[in-house]
Symmetry: C2
Subunit: 342 residues, 2 copies
Amino acid sequence: MLVTSAPDSPPVGRARLADVAALAGVSVGTASKALNGAGRMRPETRQRVLDAVEALGFRPNQHAQSLHSGRSWTVGLMTTDGIGRFSTPVLLGAEDALGAGKISVLLCDTRGDAIREQHHLRNLTDRRVDGVIVAGRRTDPRPPLTGIDPAIPVVYALSPSADPADTSVVTDDRGGARLAVEHLLATGRTRIAHVTGPEHHQAARDRARHAVEHLAAAGLEPAAGRVHFGEWSEAWGRRAADAVLRTAPRTDAVFCGNDQIARGVADALRERGKDVPGDIAVVGYDNWDTMALACRPPLTTVDMNLAEIGRIAALRLLQAIDAEPEPGVHTVPCRLVVRESS
Amino acid sequence: MLVTSAPDSPPVGRARLADVAALAGVSVGTASKALNGAGRMRPETRQRVLDAVEALGFRPNQHAQSLHSGRSWTVGLMTTDGIGRFSTPVLLGAEDALGAGKISVLLCDTRGDAIREQHHLRNLTDRRVDGVIVAGRRTDPRPPLTGIDPAIPVVYALSPSADPADTSVVTDDRGGARLAVEHLLATGRTRIAHVTGPEHHQAARDRARHAVEHLAAAGLEPAAGRVHFGEWSEAWGRRAADAVLRTAPRTDAVFCGNDQIARGVADALRERGKDVPGDIAVVGYDNWDTMALACRPPLTTVDMNLAEIGRIAALRLLQAIDAEPEPGVHTVPCRLVVRESS
DNA sequence: AGGTCACGAGCAAACCTTTTCCTAGACGGT
DNA sequence: ACCGTCTAGGAAAAGGTTTGCTCGTGACCT
């Protein structure tokens, strides 16, 4: 059977369906039906075909299948700012969900370059991908993809499309801020400062606004009466902690816009002789393990469930491919990870 | 021309080569030749075809091309331990180099699971990928892929294959250790400690062995007379720094096996009142920006040029696809990034 | 015993491009 | 003017699978 070259139909290389059919003594079409379950046929005929498939190690040629069906069983995954801390979990979540549906992922990194984006887009269109996921980094809306075949569904993850008619999956910054504030309130803190990133980042603005709102709902206002906007860095966290100690010395908790800031805050507080969480609790945002776990003490922080965002984006894409898309912005809830800093 | 449905050949959906040929008044075969440059033909005929391509926005159907040529212009990129700090730059480097060759990357993450690896491998084989890159995380050799079609070339990146007949691209741990030690010697340090990860990691063993060898070549031995093996964590760095100060108080430099350890060492030294680099220099390994730049002071560290490893792996793969593979282990040199900690 | 119905299996077209082989025409040389 | 050669372009097959349609056979009912 598996000799290197048979007399007339040499199965050198991979076996074709024709080889299977010949071995089973049926026509090619019948062999195909036996494999795909369609049509009715005698069980023993089907079994003969399956035996032949087994004997020859036949695997269908996906190029031929794709040519026939027009589907590639492939989606493009475009990351717009390199592949970093934020896009990686999204990417893995998407890959996981798509792999279950027998769909593979074509990776395209634009490095934030519009030319490169166009180039990848043309490539994906030429490959007749079944869909595209665009994974951003920031939560600010991004302009929708231009020049893509409207027949190819697109889902935006993390950075929503500026066009509300598109489908986007984003994190729930409101819920995240609420989780953090309510946790601090529940553990008895009342003089809570908020230190976060640059005000021109929507994530910083949203988290700050909702944190303040939730404090107000409890009849409180942020320590020192204002939000501390700055950078997403440890250095800013350290400077801000000093500022908070100076201007609002009775502060008993700091909610930080990300884990780097939180770590900087925790470091500075410790170096100023404050006990975390004894004197002041610290809560971060991102659950970036290398920061949250290496912090002294390990950080309580908000996890955005990035992998879940990727998974949901993939499911939305599958839905848009097979059925009707569900446009609009879908938010994925956050989760509070409590550790020793609060 | 671009009406939704012409009388007999409605160019609904995408234009086919037949549409182009019809518009240009030539046969399909001639249109193909005009596009691919092969065969001789009158310049004005070729131009007519190109004009038709332009008018219809024709793009060749890659499924048909792949079916014909047997090539998919696609390579599989398998990451074996999730996509993390180490594999991401490799992955991007590879994607970049392959994209230049009109080849796209199929992403497969095995999560370190052999079952998943087999599953992905079968999928890639079914898709007739032109080649596979296996990107590991640790530098310890890994068992070669099993059950892959021997006609598909494979290149291992970062984790070499245990089979020397395979092609692998790895980092130069010897050179990295030499860069660090020679830098410290050149800046006048002579009592150099080495703090690194677990001894069962080949990276830790290699860097330690070569560091010790280079010290010996200068007539020195490591401070405290031995290498400090431990974990790849900041906590271990802090503990080890204390141990070094206790057992070898005159130490004037610490070369660390990674940046996390280095940061822990720097933190502990500062907290013990030592000045870095005034009293003691600290050198890290990995050039992991979030660690190296956030460290106080910013870390001098060894950069493994991971993106270059990915790039070279991709080039080796392209070579193996188009021509003869060049088996064996290829090492990519490191680069020392000098900052303020030394 | 003959006719009809149903089920099993095969044929062929369609998916689209590339490439080889072949034909017809033109031009040049004798 | 005729023959040979060269070239441009067309026809057709190959690459492999899916699927609708058709055909044939067997069984059952009248």
